[in-house]
């Protein structure tokens, strides 16, 4: 498959990508916008962008993904897209009637210099309806920063500090994770008996149940009144600094709410940190049910630790996921040899190196703004026992004959994943099961007849 990839690593000065480990901002913005109840994401650019984003999200979530486009033609790209957006706003509220329309830009509308706030202000928005926006040029950042920008846009447009004293309630920004993860984060927070507002919240939107009817706007999503009320909360928990921190800091500036930036709660340590941060701030005891889950996790980690110890792993994907996952792999006794994200940002490299150093691991390859060509070359030179990443990792897994399991976005060739959490103690158990299955299945497959065993 990717057998043409050479082993010899040469310097690539162009900054060009071979087999990208990221995609562009607008799709992240579209996904975040789906996390507002009765919101129609709108892509301000040519048709292809909107079509690709809907297609990709549809493949990952296997649910209808609704979004509209400004349908740019040559005229729009010469005279500006203002007229297109105004027509779009009129048509969207007339026909689809959402509560809110969340516009994100594309490389095209950014380059011709469309001034979104001005266009939106002069557009005919029906009484009681809202149009919000985020700037998401595709030539900067990645899908993760696009998610972050739209989440920040929600704060900019909607959050209001209306109460004199802050409410005993937490804002939770879950980051670019699956609806299953969002449900799990909510379950943990509820188990702690803490009031909260999660935004964006795509659960109930892209994992909506089958009813035999197609709902244009399913039940899920953060409501407008909740989004407004985020300005009255006591603290904001930003889970994953890349996808969530900007919105939390903006809430601090706008409504004086304490930002608490944590890792995405993947693995035992990051989940502990989330639970403890909730417990401390809201003076709540950790409930028996969570203690029991944690105890079970430690129990199975003990039961299986010898399967993992010293195993060499390559992991790639979105920075928030990869950082937390690296920490978890280390806690299982594994050695992350190659750690890569496509999203740019030096902070990633620093953070991962710190985590590796704390565990006494030296000499690993760590890279932000990398691509899968680089990752494959690394693996050719320093082989691993396991590869973890999104669907595109399957090409490398096949070419290099490495066991592989899928985590992250997008996963286009497997189903059910978006319903099953990888966060929290339950998620850590599931990860552990997936990792050991991948390793042990390979061992079974490769075992000589005389070495084939019932119990492993």
């Amino acid at each position: 498959m990717l057998d043409a990839t050479p082993k010899e690593i040469t310097d690539r000065k162009s900054g060009g990508m071979i087999n990208p480990a990221k995609t562009c901002q607008p799709i992240g913005a579209m996904y975040a916008a789906l996390g507002i109840h009765s919101c129609l994401p709108h892509s301000h650019g040519s048709q292809g962008c909107c079509s690709y984003h809907r297609m990709h999200l549809t493949r990952h979530f296997r649910d209808p993904i609704m979004a509209t486009t400004s349908s740019f033609t040559e005229g729009a790209s010469v005279f500006g897209g203002g007229a297109n957006l105004k027509t779009a706003i009129k048509n969207v509220f007339n026909v689809y009637n959402p509560e809110v329309m969340a516009v994100h830009t594309t490389c095209l509308s950014e380059t011709i210099g469309d001034d979104l706030p001005t266009i939106i202000k002069s557009a005919d928005v029906p009484e009681g309806k809202l149009v919000i926006h985020a700037n998401t040029p595709s030539y900067a950042g990645s899908h993760v920063t696009g998610f972050s920008n739209m989440t920040k846009g929600m704060v900019q447009y909607l959050s209001e500090a209306t109460e004199e004293t802050k409410k005993q309630q937490a804002n939770i920004i879950p980051g670019f994770v699956n609806p299953g993860d969002m449900r799990e984060i909510k379950r943990i927070t509820e188990a702690m008996d803490i009031e909260y507002i999660m935004f964006p919240d795509t659960s109930g939107v892209v994992d909506s149940p089958m009813t035999g009817k197609h709902e244009m706007f399913p039940k899920g999503g953060t409501t407008i009144s909740q989004l407004k009320d985020t300005g009255n909360s006591k603290a904001t928990y930003a889970l994953g600094s890349y996808a969530s921190a900007d919105a939390a800091y903006h809430l601090e500036r706008k409504c004086k709410i304490e930002p608490i930036v944590l890792k995405t709660p993947i693995g035992i340590k990051a989940t502990d940190e989330y639970v403890m941060a909730l417990s401390n701030k809201f003076s709540k005891e950790i409930p028996k049910s969570l203690e029991e889950e944690r105890g079970q996790l430690v129990d199975i980690m003990t039961d299986t630790h010898f399967h993992f110890h010293g195993k060499r792993v390559a992991v790639f994907g979105d920075p928030d996921i990869v950082i937390a996952l690296t920490e978890y792999l280390l806690s299982l006794g594994m050695t992350p040899v190659h750690v890569l994200t496509g999203t740019p940002g030096k902070k990633f490299e620093e953070e991962v190196k710190e985590i590796l150093a704390a565990a006494g691991i030296e000499g690993s390859n760590v890279k932000a703004a990398g691509d899968l060509f680089t990752l494959q070359q690394w693996i050719k030179n320093q082989p691993v026992d396991l590869l973890i990443g999104n669907t595109y990792g399957k090409y490398i897994a096949r070419a290099e004959d490495v066991p592989f399991f899928r985590v992250g976005f997008p996963i286009l060739d497997r189903s059910v994943h978006s319903y099953m959490p990888i966060v929290g103690y339950k998620g850590a158990m599931r990860l552990l099961e997936m990792i050991s299955n991948a390793l042990l299945e390979r061992q079974d497959r490769d075992a000589a007849e005389e070495d084939f065993e019932l119990v492993m």
Binding site: M1, A4, R12, K13, S14, G15, G16, M17, N19, T23, C24, P26, I27, H42, G45, Q47, G48, C49, C50, S51, Y52, R54, M55, H56, T58, R59, R62, D63, P64, M66, T68, T69, S70, S71, F72, T73, S77, N84, T87, A88, I89, N91, N94, V95, Y96, T106, C107, L108, T111, I112, P137, S138, Y139, S142, M210, G212, K213, H214, M216, Y392
Partner: protein, 462 residues
């Protein structure tokens, strides 16, 4: 005969339409028979269409030993990475995703330098004979001179580096097909183009044809190649399924071009007729009737009795092999209703016939980029009351599927979950399909797929 529902009354019932779109929807038997098509989508509509770049990329990408370099920000390359599922008998180079990953700096100062560097590195890394450089929206706006860069690098390395003018906003997917065909024309241009040379080449031909508009999804091109070989006709080049540089260079050796996907390849066929005197013929290998007719017409072209006999023998054998199976499916599926929403008009036409072959009535037909003459044919084939629509959006699809009580939708990626949510069965007739749907074996696969979804026990639980 179905009851004809008046379109205007359905319109007032539910507000799913954008007023500007009413001309794009019609109903067989209703007075307004001509569907407005080939227009730009309305801003704010949930069009299922893609862009010019997408059209160019899906047509060219199956060329296996080429580097397909997308000049633009990362998204365009990411979303089109290996989406076509075209199989290769040789190189797998086309299954990589190459992008210049333009950044803010490139947008401000121009991306030509970065493009040159990227070409240098890729030539150094892979030593290709052929490279396509696709322009994207942003390249069209900032005005990078793709032609000049490609020409310069082409001369420097002595390989073919072909610019593909596919800025996303300069039309819709159909404009991208044309850009792809223009790129192909640059490659297949023979070194000597005098008419004498072409005549000489043709006199050497031995029943050799080009197969246009098959992208070898799930090995479909290979199936057709097998049938033709058996009756004594060789496929010279397939555009573009499993095509490679060497093959493309021989493209003008053919005596005939046959076209499966009319939307993407008619332009190329016309050009090849104009430039090299190669006649063309529209065929279809979707469904038994179309397959039989197509084989006969191809054989007939060569005016050779032996060929035609062999064709009849093949048809008789293949048909008898599948007759019993198809009959069983037809019994199972009789009376079910299907809705169609596909990319091109020609495919929709084939599908109507194919559904009829297995006892299914078509109650809704839509396409993304169908042309006027195709909609005319669709209107002829359709039964009274069938809804015909161009560039439909999900709300419209939903409304008509529900209204017409369709049991099945045939469409692409984005339509699948929509159908499922409505409790309607679905089959994929787009890039994602995993089973060949061409030829006699394809007809069986089609029936199997329809049966597996329409008759699934899952619908009992909805």
């Amino acid at each position: 005969m179905k009851v004809v529902v008046k379109l205007d009354s359905t319109k007032s019932k539910k507000k799913s339409f954008i007023a500007e779109r009413s001309e794009s929807i019609s109903m067989k038997g209703h007075q307004k028979s001509q569907v407005k098509c080939d227009t730009d989508s309305v801003a704010g509509s949930m069009s299922q269409r893609a862009c010019v770049f997408c059209g160019a990329r899906v047509v060219l990408n199956p060329i296996t030993d080429a580097i397909h370099l997308v000049h633009g920000p990362i998204g365009c390359a990411s979303y089109t990475w290996d989406i076509r599922g075209s199989l290769s008998s040789g190189s797998e180079l086309y299954r990589n995703s190459f992008s210049t990953d333009m950044k803010e700096k490139d947008v401000i100062f121009g991306g030509e330098k970065k493009l040159e560097q990227a070409i240098d590195e890729l030539v150094d890394e892979y030593h290709p004979k052929l490279m396509f450089v696709y322009s994207t929206c942003i390249v069209g706006v900032i005005g990078d001179d793709l032609d000049a860069v490609c020409k310069k690098k082409s001369l420097q390395y002595g390989i073919e580096i072909i610019p593909v003018q596919s800025s996303g906003f300069i039309g819709n997917k159909a404009a991208g097909y044309r850009a792809a065909c223009d790129a192909i024309l640059k490659i297949i241009k023979p070194e000597e183009t005098t008419s004498q040379a072409i005549i000489e080449r043709k006199s050497n031909c031995k029943r050799v044809i080009n197969y246009l508009g098959d992208f070898n999804l799930a090995a479909e091109a290979w199936i057709i190649q097998g049938y033709l070989k058996e009756i004594g006709i060789d496929i010279n080049v397939t555009f573009t399924g499993d095509a490679n540089y060497e093959a493309l260079k021989k493209a003008t050796d053919a005596e005939l071009n046959i076209i499966q996907c009319a939307g993407s390849m008619t332009y190329l066929a016309k050009k090849m007729e104009e430039l090299y005197g190669i006649p063309y013929m529209h065929i279809s290998f979707l469904g038994i009737e179309d397959t039989k007719e197509s084989l006969r017409r191809i054989a007939h072209f060569f005016q050779n009795i032996e060929l035609e006999e062999k064709t009849e023998k093949l048809i008789a054998r293949e048909e008898s092999q599948i007759a019993k199976t198809l009959h069983w499916y037809k019994q199972q599926l009789q009376g079910k209703k299907a809705a169609i929403y596909v990319g091109g008009g020609f495919k929709a036409i084939s599908l109507i016939k194919q559904f009829n072959e297995i006892g299914i009535e078509v109650v809704m037909v839509g396409t993304q980029t169908g042309r006027k003459e195709e909609y005319d044919t669709i209107a002829d084939l359709a039964t009274a009351g069938t809804v015909i629509l161009d560039d439909a959006n999900p709300s419209e699809l939903e409304q008509f599927m529900t209204e017409k009580a369709a049991d099945l939708l045939v469409g692409g990626v984005k339509e699948r979950p929509l159908a499922y949510k409505l409790g309607v069965a679905f089959i994929d007739h787009n890039h994602d399909r995993k089973h060949p749907l061409s030829g006699f074996i394809g007809a069986v696969n089609f029936a199997t797929e329809v049966h597996s979804t329409v008759c699934s026990p899952v619908w009992k639980y909805v």
